[in-house]
């Protein structure tokens, strides 16, 4: 097992296996163990290298646009490839608004599913429904997009927008003619897509809440709902917040489904019935059409903004989740 002459430990005569050398070999001082460890470390270093490469490539390619437009890129709303003037304000606006609207719709639904699955549902139902939710998180984005174009938008046009306009038509949020592709459609598709994801992660967070918390509340005479509200949810608050922010990160970077239904128009408007644009959608649509190097560089800058934004959002989410379920790969099964 140990090949003593190879040990780089000074002062221990070879051929006399002292307890210390045996201990060293168990700790990985053996040469083949060191090689094994080095190989695995090499693999592990691939990830930091990867994230730095992603950032580096985006930054280098975005440099011409960064130099030319400076920070004004963030709040300029002109996007004119002919005049070579680029500003990402409409996309940033569209990305933010569609994601927050999606969260608004998705969070109550997703948290309900998670609470139901961990607290109220009968035992035989929990595993199959949790399994179903995880499977739904695996539906490809482009499939959601197809459904959005052919089912959701006609449905909105026929059954949702007319009554909405009849009641709230006077607000600035529902102005203009509804053609289908719109901020509203984008937000709804996003909401449907992130529900399984938030639900799966929240469920794992709630499962990590110790049973003693529930028992204590129940022993004090709380009903089951009161136990959830006063003991389980506060205990898992940071993790649930993390699950929601993780959902936000998904929504911010979601590309295909949104591109297919949001309308792709460089415009900032408060009406959810009008077409909008997101950063990811702009890259998907225009990257292959970018004829000049400045156009391409501007799109890389959009990519850089999107990347940095999602890295920050995901980092915050992970820190929050780790506070509840330390070090676990929560959500890895929901993907």
């Amino acid at each position: 097992m140990t090949s003593l002459p190879n040990l780089p430990i000074e002062g221990i005569p070879s051929g006399r296996p002292s307890t210390e050398t045996r201990w060293q070999s168990l700790l990985g001082a053996d040469r083949s163990d060191r090689i094994y460890r080095r190989i695995l470390t090499g693999f592990a270093l691939a990830l930091p290298a990867l994230i730095l490469t992603l950032f580096g490539v985006l930054l280098v390619n975005a440099l011409p646009a960064l130099k030319r437009f400076g920070p004004a890129f963030l709040w300029t709303s002109t996007w004119d490839p002919v005049a070579e003037v680029y500003g990402a304000a409409p996309m940033i606006f569209g990305t933010m608004v569609s994601s927050f609207l999606a969260l608004l719709l998705a969070v109550p639904l997703a948290l309900s599913v998670a609470i139901l699955l961990t607290e109220f549902a009968p035992r035989w139902l929990r595993q199959p429904v949790a399994f179903l939710v995880e499977l739904l998180a695996a539906i490809p984005s482009v499939v959601y997009g197809t459904w959005g174009i052919f089912v959701l938008i006609p449905f909105l046009r026929a059954h949702v927008v007319p009554p909405l306009k009849a009641v709230f038509g006077w607000t600035p949020f529902l102005q203009g003619v509804f053609y289908g592709n719109s901020l509203l459609a984008g937000a709804i598709i996003l909401a449907i897509m992130i529900v399984p994801y938030i639900a799966a992660v929240s469920r794992e967070v709630l499962l990590a809440v110790p049973t003693s918390q529930r028992e204590a509340a129940l022993a004090m005479g709380a009903t089951r709902w009161e136990a959830v509200r006063s003991a389980v949810l506060p205990y898992g608050r940071a993790g649930l917040m993390g699950a929601v922010i993780l959902g936000l990160g998904r929504a911010l970077g979601e590309t295909m489904a949104v591109t297919m239904v949001i309308g792709n128009r460089h415009d900032i408007g408060v009406s959810v019935l009008q077409p909008a644009y997101t950063m990811a959608a702009a890259i998907a649509n225009e990257f292959s059409e970018a004829t000049t190097s400045m156009y391409l560089s501007a799109l890389f800058e959009v990519g850089l903004i999107l990347f940095v934004l999602t890295v920050i959002v995901n980092a915050i989410a992970r820190i929050l989740i780790w506070r509840v379920a330390r070090g676990t790969a929560v959500g890895s099964r929901a993907l």
């Binding site: 097992m1 053996d30 090689i35 470390t41 995880e134 539906i139 449907i192 998907a284």
Partner: protein, 268 residues
């Protein structure tokens, strides 16, 4: 309040069941033998199939798995075996952050490295982009599965005089093999449905192509083009392709969980 929770949950599940129902209702009628065996016909004509896209998906995803699985599993083994230090913490954190990185960003980085210098779109570039997407995912699932192996097994092997590397590979990794395979299959299911990273790498191809140095069609790219196109015939094929892609993803996902159903199903 309980009633509200039940009602909202029901709404959430209903929306998702509706999507599956629509897919089957609108896609199933277009699926026949020709759909699987023929390549697309020119726009405007009827008939044709998506044989090229099915083949392309298999090749691109297979190649991506070939690149991504060893690296992803290797990172996961590191995290499980040596990941208690500062590097382990950092790698774990980066893996989680990368898991949430928009796939379109990985697509344009793949374009920069593999399409721009070579001057042409290729299936290989698509595979590399998908592999990058897969690595952080696999790292975390592998780590999780390896950590489930009881410590007593490891200690028994070490006590018998097995060196650490052999314990790790022959005892720990082998015990967790089912779980690792599950992680790989789930990862493959996920990348099989990806479209965004392929837009500027594999690009898509209307003809049957088996060359990884050339543009190649995948089901996801095909659905995107057909669903956003103007022809009814395309829409019909988009639904059918969506159903096939969906079926493929679900079958792989379910198979993945089936592999480890007994051993790990009760852990969560």
């Amino acid at each position: 309040m309980t009633a509200v929770v039940i009602l909202l949950s029901f709404t959430a599940v209903l929306a998702l069941v509706l999507i599956l129902g629509n897919l089957v209702a609108k896609g199933a009628s277009s699926i026949d033998w020709a759909f699987f065996t023929k390549s697309p016909v020119p726009a405007g004509q009827t008939g044709g199939g998506v044989a090229n896209a099915i083949m392309g998906t298999a090749i691109i995803v297979g190649l991506a798995a070939l690149i991504g699985v060893p690296i992803g599993v290797g990172v996961g083994m590191y995290l499980a075996e040596y990941g208690s230090g500062r590097l382990g913490f950092m790698v774990r954190f980066i893996a989680d952050v990368l898991n949430g990185t928009p796939s379109i960003v990985i697509g344009i980085v793949g374009w920069t490295f593999l399409v721009k210098p070579m001057g042409k779109f290729s299936a290989l570039a698509g595979s590399v982009s998908l592999a990058i997407l897969m690595i952080p995912m696999l790292a975390r699932t592998t780590e999780e599965m390896v950590r489930l192996v009881p410590h007593s097994l490891r200690e028994a092997a070490l006590a018998l005089g097995y060196p650490r590397w052999r314990t790790s590979l022959k005892i720990v990794a082998r015990t967790a093999l089912g779980g690792i395979v599950t992680g790989c299959l789930v990862g493959i299911a996920r990348i099989a449905g990806e479209t965004a990273p392929l837009l500027f790498t594999a690009l898509g191809n209307l003809n049957f192509s088996l060359s990884i140095g050339q543009p190649m069609q995948t089901l996801s790219l095909q659905i995107y083009v057909y669903a956003t196109g103007p022809f009814d015939e395309w829409h019909r094929l988009a639904w059918a392709s969506a159903l096939v892609l969906m079926g493929l993803v679900l079958v792989i996902s379910i198979a993945a969980r089936w592999v480890t159903r007994q051993r790990y199903g009760s852990v969560r």
